[in-house]
């Protein structure tokens, strides 16, 4: 089903530079030049990298250079053509390449197994007086998907066109990204409706936890921000334990709206101090290292959180590969 594609993801820090300018600007100018089908820049809320220096928006002094994630999707040939330039630019960032399938309305819908549907598209559509993604989440809940999460990008490309957010603007054209996990038949039921909620959508479908070859693995924990473990926020605890276990790195991103196991849609409310939005904790490491720290993730997510594992190839900067972590952080 669908077109053979690659997903190119770069994990870096907001303030990382490529020469004279910010790496993020460099990457998206590159994606624009290559007219990539879609790409989106997401801002992280916490994480750590190969130096094991923690970043978190919970503390002012740790939020000076929060993690950023850029995702780009196109056909295999077009991503492979852009890859050398991305690696050249990325510096200390980690670049991962994973197989994906671009899905179009002419392709048959998946019929079995658990699948991950990712939607990229403009956020300009209004439905029932609200942003289109609000109605999309309601539709996904109705369809009975396991996890749905809407993430807003701040830069990107859509069908080859650059779509960058500005400070004083509606930013209707800037891509958003929707992650949906569910049983194939439930996902298939939603596929025909996507275009009425998201502008010019680009869709990728992947099997969840399928055995695919690749020297590196990416583990994502999808959870609600209010999920707790021993009274602590689960996403904070996951990052802390992964850092202690010596994982290569982790990045936490936060969505704006979502739904878990057909519960009430979760989103921030103006008069509520507690925020509950979807959160994703992403960790990439060698397959061998993942085997070592995965039990920690499994133990922490016993009560809450959906874990997905995929394989691919990750490229880290030479210095990041050779230098051992400079000491472990204290608990």
């Amino acid at each position: 089903m669908g077109e053979d594609a690659l997903k190119l993801t770069t994990y870096f820090s907001e303030r990382d530079r490529a020469g004279e300018r910010f790496l993020a600007d460099g990457l998206f100018d590159l994606y624009e030049r290559h007219r990539l089908r879609t790409s989106v820049l997401l801002r992280g809320i916490a994480g750590f990298g190969w130096r094991h220096r923690l970043q978190s928006d919970r503390l002012l002094s740790l939020s000076e250079s929060l993690p950023a994630v850029s995702v780009a999707v196109d056909t295999r040939e077009r991503i492979e053509a852009a890859l050398p330039e991305v690696l050249e630019l990325a510096g200390h960032g980690v670049v991962s390449v994973e197989p994906a399938t671009l899905w179009s309305a002419d392709d048959p819908a998946p019929t079995s197994g658990t699948v991950l549907l990712t939607i990229y598209g403009g956020r300009g559509i209004r439905a029932e007086g609200e942003a289109g993604y609000v109605a999309l989440v309601a539709r996904l809940r109705e369809a009975g998907v396991t996890v749905a999460s809407v993430l807003l990008g701040v830069d990107g490309t859509l069908h080859g066109e650059r779509r960058r957010a500005r400070f004083f603007a509606r930013n209707a054209g800037v891509p958003l990204m929707v992650l949906i996990i569910g049983e194939a038949d439930r996902i298939a039921a939603v596929l025909p409706d996507v275009a009425s909620f998201v502008e010019e959508p680009v869709l990728t479908l992947e099997r969840v936890n399928a055995e695919t070859p690749g020297p590196h693995q990416k583990v994502i924990v999808h959870l609600e921000e209010q999920a707790k473990v021993d009274g602590h926020p689960l996403h904070v605890e996951l990052v802390r334990r992964l850092a202690l276990a010596g994982a290569a790195g982790a990045t936490v991103i936060r969505g704006v709206r979502g739904v878990y196991a057909s519960g009430e849609p979760i989103a921030d409310r103006f008069f509520s101090l507690r925020r509950n939005v979807p959160v994703h904790v992403i960790a990439i490491d060698t397959a061998e290292a993942v085997r070592q720290w995965l039990p920690i993730v499994e133990e922490l997510t016993k009560a809450a959180g959906v874990v997905t594992i995929s394989s691919g190839t990750a490229h880290a900067h030479r210095r990041a590969r050779e230098a051992p972590p400079r000491g472990r952080p204290s608990p």
Binding site: L54, R58, L59, L60, H232, L244, L273, R274
Partner: protein, 118 residues
């Protein structure tokens, strides 16, 4: 005019000292308690108490108290770092940060002033 210039320079030095000390404390910590801001505010309160205790002149208080310690300590960061755990549903951590900050800060000023008067 010299006082104004000293306020500018010492205010900058105070802010820089906070930036460096906070970063140094938080760098390798993974704990959730905002210790960096706590230490900064506590030491600032102690030093301000000390300044008052030794009977500093009006000019010394302006330059070292208002300018240097004023930009060294931070109320806004203390509140921001209380607000975040409250948002994440950790009322105990949020209250602990407020109560501990207030109690320890008051004690630090009292101690500083007492030592300054010796």
């Amino acid at each position: 005019m010299v006082t104004v210039l000293l306020v500018v320079v010492c205010g900058g030095a105070g802010a820089l000292a906070r930036f460096l000390l906070d970063a140094l404390i938080q760098e390798r910590r993974l704990n959730e308690f905002p210790l960096g801001t706590f230490v900064v505010n506590l030491s600032g309160a102690f030093l301000l108490g000390l300044l008052v205790g030794v009977g500093s002149s009006h000019r010394t208080m302006t330059i070292l108290g208002t300018a240097t310690l004023g930009s060294y300590t931070t109320f806004s960061t203390w509140m921001l770092e209380t607000h975040r755990p409250a948002q994440d549903g950790e009322p105990v951590l949020a209250w602990l940060n407020i109560v501990l900050g207030l109690a320890a800060g008051f004690a630090a000023v009292t101690l500083g002033r007492a030592l300054g008067r010796l």
